[in-house]
């Protein structure tokens, strides 16, 4: 990992292409930043280039399907370096080599903070199933989220969409994540008593009535144990233990599995095999506009068929590693393909397949720089600000975007982060610094 990316000059590529046989034909037209790519012009632009690479080569098959069949649009933007906050890079440097991977157990021990396996060029040279594990562990331990404690909340946190009928349901929620391991925002890297606890997570719903007060509390571990999961059901006023196997169950009626949260959230060891397939360029909104108190219509085209397309005008070339994930037998998916950014630890896209090999769901996540916080030191950091799913088999999709995201807000301590928060949320307690939200559907 370097502090600045190497920019590949389009001119250099063009020169190389002139020397090679592949450029024996015409020089392909270079598209301008701001160009809209849609079903209407796909056939014209797919062989044209942007920053020297053809459009078709940079659009994953699932996004091509969305453009051609579901009226999805992308807008080109020139690439910019992807940088990470100094506190994360400093920790990465300081603790480089402390995280140890055991190829027999596939377990990682000794992780302290930062990105555990930062030299991806070296990792990519390893056996594909080891490289896949190590890259997945980078996201697992150091997922690109600004805060050691982040809170995403709003009245349209979950939108249920149907390609025929449009918006079906809207649910208000708050989702709070507290990193207990690998903290870099100040204080000790590890908090709490359990050295294997990686994070605590709470999702609570506040509307509509039948799910208001429904909440889920999860303890997520680093050693491959299944999560401890608890749910508060207001209708019976009790906290119940849930099955750790729920990680592969559907997320509250959505077209997503719990596993698909922010593209993928499982522990690497829960999959039998994760294999590095290739390194490639894709177009992806990695510098999404920071959206503050936005109307939902600014980020989701829910008023026009097929209603489930998210709107982002900042698709730029970025380099990714492609991982193929083999799922356990009882998992609903046959396999999934993950696109992981080569510069910062985040998954952008998951293409999931049925056991029969048919493309089933596409889970995407946009990422953008969080508003600069001087406490972070150095350049901006990136948050996954949304995620969503297109289910091509059921023609049902979901869009998850709380509307507001607080990073490291001061109102909650580790000691407060108990199951009791579920009951408090059901009693109307709200965390979150902002009170203004945009218009929903």
């Amino acid at each position: 990992m370097t502090r600045s990316t190497t920019r590949v000059s389009p001119a250099w590529i063009c020169a190389a292409m002139y020397l090679g046989l592949s450029c024996a034909g015409a020089v392909r037209a270079e598209l301008a930043a701001g160009t809209e790519i849609s079903a209407a012009n796909w056939e014209q632009v797919r062989q044209e280039t942007f920053e020297g690479k053809t459009i078709e080569s940079m659009v994953p098959v699932s996004i091509q399907k969305a453009i051609k069949e579901y009226n999805f649009k992308i807008w080109l933007k020139n690439s910019e370096p992807l940088l990470m906050a100094n506190h994360i890079l400093d920790a990465t440097e300081k603790y480089q080599g402390t995280a140890q991977y055991d190829p027999q157990t596939r377990q990682v021990t000794g992780y302290v903070a930062g990105i555990p396996f930062p030299d991806l060029d070296a990792v990519a040279q390893m056996a594909p199933e080891i490289a896949g594990d190590l890259m997945f562990y980078n996201v697992f331990f150091a997922r690109s989220l600004d805060g050691d404690y982040s809170n995403c909340y709003g009245p349209y946190a979950t939108v249920h969409l149907n390609t025929e009928k449009g918006v079906e349901r809207v649910q208000g929620a708050q989702a709070i994540v507290l990193r207990t391991m690998g903290r870099t925002s100040g204080g000790p890297h590890q908090i709490g008593d359990d050295p294997n606890l990686r994070k605590l997570q709470i999702i609570t719903f506040d509307s509509p009535y039948d799910i208001a007060g429904l909440g889920v509390y999860r303890k997520v571990y680093a050693d491959g144990r299944l999560d401890d999961i608890y749910a508060y059901v207001k209708a019976v006023r009790r906290v119940r233990r849930l099955s750790g196997g729920s990680w592969m169950d559907t997320l509250a009626g959505a077209s997503l599995l719990n596993d698909d949260t922010f593209v993928t959230e499982a522990h690497p060891m829960w999959y039998p095999r994760i294999e590095l397939k290739e390194k490639r360029w894709i177009l992806w909104p990695v510098h999404s506009d920071t959206v503050v108190a936005h109307d939902l219509a600014e980020v989701l085209d829910y008023q026009n068929p097929p209603y489930w397309n998210f709107i982002n005008k900042n698709w730029e070339p970025t380099e990714v590693y492609v991982l193929e994930v083999t799922t356990p037998e009882e998992h609903p998916y046959g396999k999934k393909t993950l696109y992981m950014n080569a510069r910062i630890p985040t998954f952008h896209l998951s293409e999931t397949y049925t056991k029969g090999g048919e493309m089933w769901r596409v889970i995407y996540s946009g990422i953008g720089p969080h508003p600069y916080d001087p406490a972070d030191g150095g350049p901006g950091v990136y948050d996954q600000y949304n995620f969503g799913v297109w289910d091509f088999r059921s023609e049902h999709g979901n869009y998850m975007d709380c509307g507001r995201m607080d990073a490291n807000p001061p109102d909650l301590r580790y000691e407060d982060f108990t199951q009791r928060m579920l009951v408090e949320a059901a009693d109307g307690k709200r965390h979150g610094l902002e009170t203004e939200f945009g218009e929903g559907p």
Partner: protein, 536 residues
């Protein structure tokens, strides 16, 4: 009728207000907020069986198969205010029922049977408006949270039945035990509920104190003893309240006395456990007989014109629960124990009064006296996601299968006590009464079409309840719930024709009928239930 106007006005208000989301939220700078949420709901239940009890003439039966037994309208409003330093919650519920033809028949029968001893109509008990809950939640320092006011405090791990969920009684008069959301049945109480974090021991200490400010009727289980829709068979059409009134001031069962208890919730070795103690009231009412019928429980009823009185004696219960996830079998295990020393039971199955017709007896089993026996309730339950079945049935979630064994053990049981299992019925209680329950929940179409089936089997006595149900979700506002409540009864206390008059089968017998157990008292109550909700 004025209540219709209230409901219509509320409906009109909700439909007029523009809203982006399904609840109403008002926020102010600084993070203060007010959330308004709730519903308008219409319940309808239809009898699937004829009721054998006599009608108002005494010479026909109530019957009623295919008749509507409940047409109930409810408005519920929850207001939750977060002021930062405290949260305030109020929950209001307004219920009105229509007197359907079937209920009219029941009420005529009560009027005929209770002519000299008529009280107000039983339907007044199932209607009304109530501020169900009002409480504030206050943080006191970093470790202590106090919830003060009228609220629900729920303990235990048991579904359907109750081991340690005993702080509150349940109101079983309008829909018995069949309403899924038991927060609607539980009777909220005025409590001080203090929770203290003790992270050093990985646990929370909860202290609960009831100062005794509630009205008497807020305590204990409310059963339909007034001959109404949920009266046990064969008692529909007979209001027993004039002969068996509640006494909330009995010295051993005074509802004004304070109740108190604590719970320790901890986590150890991957398991969650709790230890509980509650000094409260026996939630099932106990019949305290007049001396001429049996041995009174302490003080005899002061009113000489009654057979006895219903009281909720003070008891103390010690409990423990354990729950955890068993990765090897991919299941959640729930275990609960609740021990009540000297729990009171009614005894004397063959207590009766000479009836008006020579040779007839009006049986009042259980009014022979009260026997106290150490009682251990134990429950083991397993919740499992059936992942393979989900693929087979093409569900959108993994099907959830839950099975539970619930046992009541009278530890110093003595057959010579002749304890009755259900007050008013002659069947004697066994040393163990074991009930199995099961639930299979399926979800389709992004959990908008949700069929389920639940079963309750009295393994000791053979009675069964089967409840197939379907829940439908339409958008953010409309919810439809339907269920069938099918009672498959092995033995029931029936009604027979004696010379043209329909009377309980044991009216001219030398002993009270003695084969009808708890579920058997629901004989012929099978019904179809429809519930339409507009929520906001």
């Amino acid at each position: 009728m004025s209540w219709y106007r209230v409901v219509l006005a509320a409906a009109g208000l909700l439909l007029v207000l523009p809203t982006a989301d399904a609840a109403y939220r008002f926020s102010t700078p600084g993070g203060k907020s007010l959330l308004l949420t709730g519903y308008l709901r219409q319940h309808m239940a239809v009898n699937l069986e004829d009721h054998p009890e006599a009608d108002a003439s005494g010479m026909g039966r109530l019957d009623g198969k295919g008749d509507i037994s409940m047409m109930r309208s409810t408005f519920r409003l929850e207001a939750k205010a977060d002021l930062g330093w405290a949260q305030f919650v109020t929950i209001y519920r307004f219920d009105r029922e229509q007197e359907t033809g079937f209920l009219d028949d029941i009420n005529d029968t009560i009027n005929a049977n209770n002519a000299p001893l008529r009280l107000n109509n039983w339907m007044d008990d199932v209607e009304g408006d109530q501020m169900r809950e009002w409480y504030g939640v206050f943080d006191i320092g970093p470790r202590v949270r106090a919830t003060l006011g009228k609220q629900q405090v729920v303990w235990g791990e048991t579904d359907f039945f109750r081991g340690m969920d005993i702080i509150h009684g349940f109101d079983l008069r309008w829909r018995s035990f069949l309403e899924t959301e038991n927060e609607e049945l539980r009777k909220p109480l005025i409590l001080a509920n203090v929770e203290i974090d003790i992270p050093e021991l990985d646990g929370i200490l909860q202290l609960v104190y009831r100062p005794g400010w509630d009205k008497g009727k807020a305590l204990g289980n409310g059963l339909d003893i007034r001959g109404g829709r949920w009266a046990t068979q064969p008692n529909k059409g007979i209001d027993f309240l004039p002969l068996l009134p509640y006494n909330y001031d009995h010295p051993g069962a005074d509802t004004d006395d304070p109740n108190y208890g604590f719970r320790w919730i901890g986590h150890a070795w991957g398991w969650d456990y709790s230890l509980n103690y509650w000094r409260g009231l026996n939630n099932d009412p106990i019949g305290n007989p007049q001396a001429f019928l049996g041995t009174p429980f302490g003080a005899a009823p002061s009113n000489p014109f009654v057979l006895g009185e219903l009281i909720f004696p003070k008891v103390e219960t010690f409990g423990a629960t354990v729950t955890g996830y068993l990765e090897g079998v991919d299941s959640v295990l729930r275990v609960e124990l609740a021990f009540t020393p000297n729990k009171p039971y009614n005894a004397g199955p063959d207590v009766g009064l000479a009836g008006p017709v020579p040779g007839s007896t009006i049986w009042v089993p259980g009014l022979g006296g009260v026997v106290e026996r150490d009682t251990l309730i134990s429950m083991v339950g397993i919740d499992k996601q059936l992942k393979g079945l989900g693929r087979l049935l093409n569900t959108s979630q993994f099907p959830l299968f839950s099975v539970q064994v619930f046992d009541t053990w009278l530890m110093d049981f003595d057959g010579d006590d002749h304890i009755v299992e259900t007050f008013g019925f002659g069947a004697e209680r066994h040393e163990h009464t074991t009930i199995l329950t099961g639930l299979l929940q399926l979800n389709y179409d992004n959990s908008t079409v949700n069929p389920s089936i639940a079963g309750v089997v009295d393994a000791t006595n053979g009675d069964v309840v089967i409840i197939p149900a379907l829940d439908l979700v339409y958008g953010d506002h409309w919810r439809i719930h339907t269920d069938l409540d099918l009672f498959l009864i092995k033995n029931q206390r029936n009604v027979k024709n004696f010379g043209g008059f329909y009377l309980p089968e044991d009216t001219f017998a030398t002993r009270a009928e003695d084969d009808t157990h708890l579920i058997g008292t629901f004989a012929n109550n099978s019904q179809f239930n429809l519930r339409v909700t507009y929520q906001f």
